[in-house]
Symmetry: C2
Subunit: 210 residues, 2 copies
């Protein structure tokens, strides 16, 4: 299917999921204005108006706004969420467990199709319909499951080793929840979710304020 | 206790928890060089050397480096992690549950001292030693628990309402896991952990690459 791919600014990439979450709570066939969305999400009205022009080529209806469905489809196309992303998760501790049970990924067309651990007590179990495999079998099972994204939920000290094995198994993108920067091949896409950094930032600002 | 409080750059705040995680895995009485740390964390050596000078005023020992213990204490002082931070968590779903069970907060001196929900089936339960209270009792229990940080793990649509009630109850800083920007008073500190944004970024880069 031919369609033009545009690289979006990071700020826009950050706003699009916010719009999506908000819009998905509305009736698909209803209409919404940029002003309503701007007010609800505490964003600048002019900014939202411009974003909406990028999201959908269909014009809005005066005094009604744009159709919710058109906006949702536009955002999903821009982000690539209309394609199904198959992910595997490594490290079934508390955080890994929470992610396996998280219902919010579906709206981004991310499906976790398998989990991996070294712990013999967990291997073979099924969590929220997702089977846990032995990490030693990563290469063959990654291929069988046809997953492109690897989610790392292991401790910091193990994360780099896991990342290297994921890449060797054919994973193209890593979503890293371990509090460490990963040194992987440049053409592997890495996105970090660093709780320690976020908490450090909070604690430091609280400390400075006192 | 008189001590000079310095506002740190965001980049330094981002690196300090990485150092801390790494250093805490070493023997406290051992020595470590900036080069070792730079190599292990995939950071620039000169940068780590400069950071270490900010972290500890004690000079390193030639061919050995700096004492691990001195570096840990220095980082904790800079970030304010040597002070105990008492937090409450709102929204005991899968993510809330994972955070209540997360063992990694202790190293940052963050203690979750209570949890809140509206669900009558969860209220009264104890998770990892942390009691779950009725969110309607937030004001009195926040005071009793003497908590300053509020962790929001509710769905996006409920997050702002929860934030407003947390601030009204006396919370000074909010760690927000809901995928929405919060509109709270300017002197409330907010740090966002946005999984949807992080995932959107990853999915979009994967989509552009193909």
């Amino acid at each position: 299917m031919a369609r033009r791919k545009r690289e979006l600014s990071n700020n826009l990439i950050n706003r699009l999921p916010q719009y999506l979450t908000y819009l998905k709570e509305l009736d698909k066939d209803s209409y919404v204005s940029a002003l309503e969305v701007a007010n609800s999400l505490n964003l600048n009205f002019e900014l939202v108006k411009k974003d909406f022009q990028k999201i959908s080529s269909k014009r809005g209806v005066p005094n009604k706004g744009r159709k919710v469905d058109d906006l949702i489809n536009g955002i999903e196309k821009l982000l690539g969420f209309d394609e199904n992303h198959r992910a595997i998760l490594v490290g079934v501790g508390h955080l890994g467990n929470a992610l396996l049970n998280y219902q919010g990924f579906k709206q981004y067309n991310l499906e976790i199709v398998g989990a991996f651990d070294y712990n013999k007590e967990i291997i073979g179990k099924t969590i929220n319909g997702i089977k846990v495999y032995d990490f030693d079998d990563i290469s063959s099972i990654r291929r069988k499951l046809n997953a492109t994204i690897g989610i790392i939920c292991v401790p910091a000290s193990e994360a780099e080793g896991v990342a290297i094995r994921l890449v060797a198994s054919g994973i193209e993108a890593i979503w890293n929840f371990a509090p460490v920067r990963l040194d992987v091949n440049d053409d592997v896409i890495v996105s970090n979710m660093d709780m320690a950094q976020s908490l450090a930032n909070l604690a430091h600002r609280l400390y400075i304020k006192k």
